[in-house]
């Protein structure tokens, strides 16, 4: 296993932790929801880590792509009359192809990271307007109930609330994305990504097809984002354009990735645990100040904390001569977060 998946044991540990996490709070729909959202934003952040962290392509239309995934899944399931389980892969591939096209065009025309961010921000706004405007398909800003994937049957058979089943579905996708990420980064793709990031020109000169690798990263990110978006709507059991706005998805996913640490394997999940913990505390004590605090967080993170929690924790431990082996700071943070 560890040949195929370096650090597989650690991932299994994290997986086990999240398998057990709902048990103490099974009765509380609220906490199961918090856990689900944690994993969903970790998913968004994994996609962002691949495309931005490893490929310098700042996708600022994660909300839009997530919405494409969610709406397309519902529309296909509804109009073709198939199960949402069959519709989701199609929707994910469509979103993947959008990601691929953006990456392909950007790489072909050697767009800088700034240019890609502005291009995708504009696409995000187009998608947001389209979700509201295409009333016939999306129900406009009032939306429609989103209860696909026939999970309530499973929930009844297992004798647990539907929200718990949704949580485990999300967990399965999260673990799959983690396996994909770890495999990807340790494969020839990861080596190519690293070479391109260090020096695009040099990478090209030794025969690395920059456009191809960047497009692949865009495709994978698009697929993951679409799945996360669909599950985000399923978790909310109701779909509206407001779920998929720039502020609701992209800003949070960015904060999650930077808090956890960019290009860190466990950065997305560590960041998501911390951000959702902050979110839960704010929801209880200062709901009105949620947006303001996330804005301040974004500023402070980028000015002072760009290496993220995992790297900072490792530095902290090394300073005190506590050697726990690489990356234990990450698992420690997951532990405390998972219990809460």
């Amino acid at each position: 296993m560890s040949d195929f998946l370096p650090g597989g044991r650690k991932l299994a540990l994290v997986g086990l932790l999240f398998v057990l996490a709902p048990l103490p709070v099974m009765g509380s729909g609220y906490f199961v929801g918090v856990l689900s959202r944690t994993l969903l934003f970790a998913l968004f952040a994994i996609a962002l880590n691949i495309v931005f962290g490893h490929n310098d392509q700042l996708f600022l239309f994660m909300g839009g792509l997530g919405g494409i995934g969610a709406y397309t899944t519902a529309l296909i399931a509804d109009s073709v009359g198939v199960s949402a389980w069959l519709a989701l892969p199609v929707a994910a591939v469509i979103a993947g192809l959008i990601g691929l096209s953006v990456s392909w065009i950007s790489a072909r025309r050697s767009f800088t990271v700034i240019l890609i961010s502005i291009l995708t921000l504009n696409l995000q706004l187009v998608f947001s307007e389209a979700f509201i405007g295409a009333r016939g398909l999306t129900g406009g800003s009032t939306g429609f109930p989103y209860e696909l994937f026939t999970l309530s049957g499973i929930a009844e058979a297992a004798g647990v609330p539907t929200a718990v089943v949704i949580y485990y579905v999300i967990l399965a996708f999260f673990l799959a994305a983690m396996v994909l990420y770890i495999w990807l980064i340790n494969s020839k793709y990861g080596i190519a990504f690293e070479a391109i990031r260090e020096d695009e020109m040099a990478a090209e000169s030794i025969g690395i097809d920059v456009v191809r690798y960047k497009s692949i990263a865009g495709f994978i990110a698009g697929v993951i984002i679409a799945i996360a978006g669909t599950l985000l709507a399923r978790e909310a059991t109701y779909i509206t354009p407001s779920i998929f706005t720039f502020l609701a998805v992209d800003v949070i996913a960015l904060v999650v990735l930077i808090v956890g640490g960019i290009r860190q394997t466990y950065g997305p999940i560590v960041g998501a645990v911390i951000v959702e913990a902050i979110e839960a505390i704010l929801g209880t004590y200062a709901a009105n100040w949620r947006t303001a605090i996330f804005g301040a967080l974004l500023i402070l993170l980028f000015l002072y904390f760009r290496s993220g929690v995992i790297v900072k924790a490792q530095e902290f431990l090394e300073d005190r001569d506590v050697s726990l082996g690489g990356g234990n700071g990450g698992t420690a943070a997951v532990d405390t977060g998972g219990d809460g």
């Binding site: 700042l58 065009i105 025309r109 767009f111 800088t112 990271v113 700034i114 240019l115 961010s117 502005i118 291009l119 921000l121 504009n122 696409l123 706004l125 187009v126 307007e129 389209a130 509201i132 405007g133 720039f246 502020l247 800003v251 960015l254 009105n288 100040w289 949620r290 947006t291 303001a292 605090i293 996330f294 804005g295 301040a296 967080l297 974004l298 500023i299 402070l300 980028f302 000015l303």
Partner: protein, 287 residues
């Protein structure tokens, strides 16, 4: 059937909207051209000026005093932001500075929106109380005409400042060659502060003019920012004349599209235009 007079009225309204867009675009262009900080909080400054002016009127102040008060506040606030936040951004260089600039101003706009929602959560407007103006068969709103005139005067003054005064010439020198400017004894940081304050004042005016024609709310601020971005993409992020032309053009197109095909489609046309420009003329955002 659309009559000529309707078209004329639409054109004037479109130009009035375009005037606000041009001001916002100029605000982005000034700061980006000078310090490579893409000010994604520009819409927040616009909204703050408009809302504050509206609140001052509620306190019994006259319209000009209230507008001056709103703009003055935004100017001082801009100065504070420049001396604190932007000073930190300017510590880095090149692509890193652009990226940090994007994230800090994005954070700032989220922060400001989040703070404002708690205090000023309704819709605000600044009715100028002007009568409609009759031009031949067409009737155009006085507010639209006033918007165009005010924006034109302010832009003219701004261009005169940049072209005729020493400070303005120093500014343009940094635009063209930062190192050269430093060699002849111009301090770029001071000029950047001046220009940032100027840019938020221009944006504040755009917000005030927008509030004169329709409602403005906290949620409008991100909309303004995106409009400003589109204008600078289409006009070229370093060209002031480009920003003005693009602003007017997009204002006209948006207003016409709004009338003929509906507002959602009009917005999509606006963003679509920006995407097309980015794809075919990406050099507008670099170089």
């Amino acid at each position: 059937m659309v009559t000529i007079s309707t078209l004329a009225a639409l054109a004037v309204d479109g130009l009035a909207f375009g005037a606000s867009l041009a001001l916002l675009g100029v605000g982005i262009t000034l700061v980006y051209g000078l310090g490579e900080v893409l000010n994604l909080a520009i819409g927040a400054f616009a909204v703050i000026a408009a809302i504050l002016a509206s609140l001052l009127i509620d306190q019994g102040m006259s319209l000009p005093v209230a507008i001056a008060g709103g703009l003055a506040f935004v100017g001082v606030f801009g100065l504070v932001v420049d001396r604190t936040l932007l000073s930190l951004v300017y510590r880095s260089d090149g692509e890193e500075r652009i990226l940090i600039g994007i994230f800090t101003t994005l954070g700032l706009t989220v922060l400001l929106e989040g703070v404002m929602v708690n205090y000023v959560s309704s819709q605000y407007s600044l009715p100028l109380g002007l009568d409609p103006i009759r031009v031949g068969a067409a009737v155009v709103t006085g507010t639209s005409v006033a918007s165009i005139v005010i924006a034109a005067v302010v832009l003219a003054v701004l261009f005169l400042f940049l072209n005729r005064t020493f400070l303005g010439k120093a500014t343009r020198t940094i635009f063209q060659d930062e190192r050269g400017a430093r060699l002849v004894g111009i301090n770029p940081r001071k000029i950047r502060t001046l220009v940032f304050v100027l840019s938020v004042l221009v944006a504040g005016l755009a917000g005030v003019l927008a509030a004169a024609r329709s409602n403005v709310s906290v949620a409008t601020s991100f909309e303004f920012t995106t409009f400003a971005l589109i204008v600078s993409i289409v006009g070229g992020v370093r060209s002031l004349v480009g920003a003005v032309v693009a602003g007017l053009l997009l204002g006209l197109i948006n207003t016409m599209a709004n009338f003929f095909v509906g507002s959602y489609f009009a917005t999509i046309i606006l963003f679509g235009a920006a995407i097309v420009f980015l794809l075919f003329r990406p050099e507008v955002m670099s170089s």
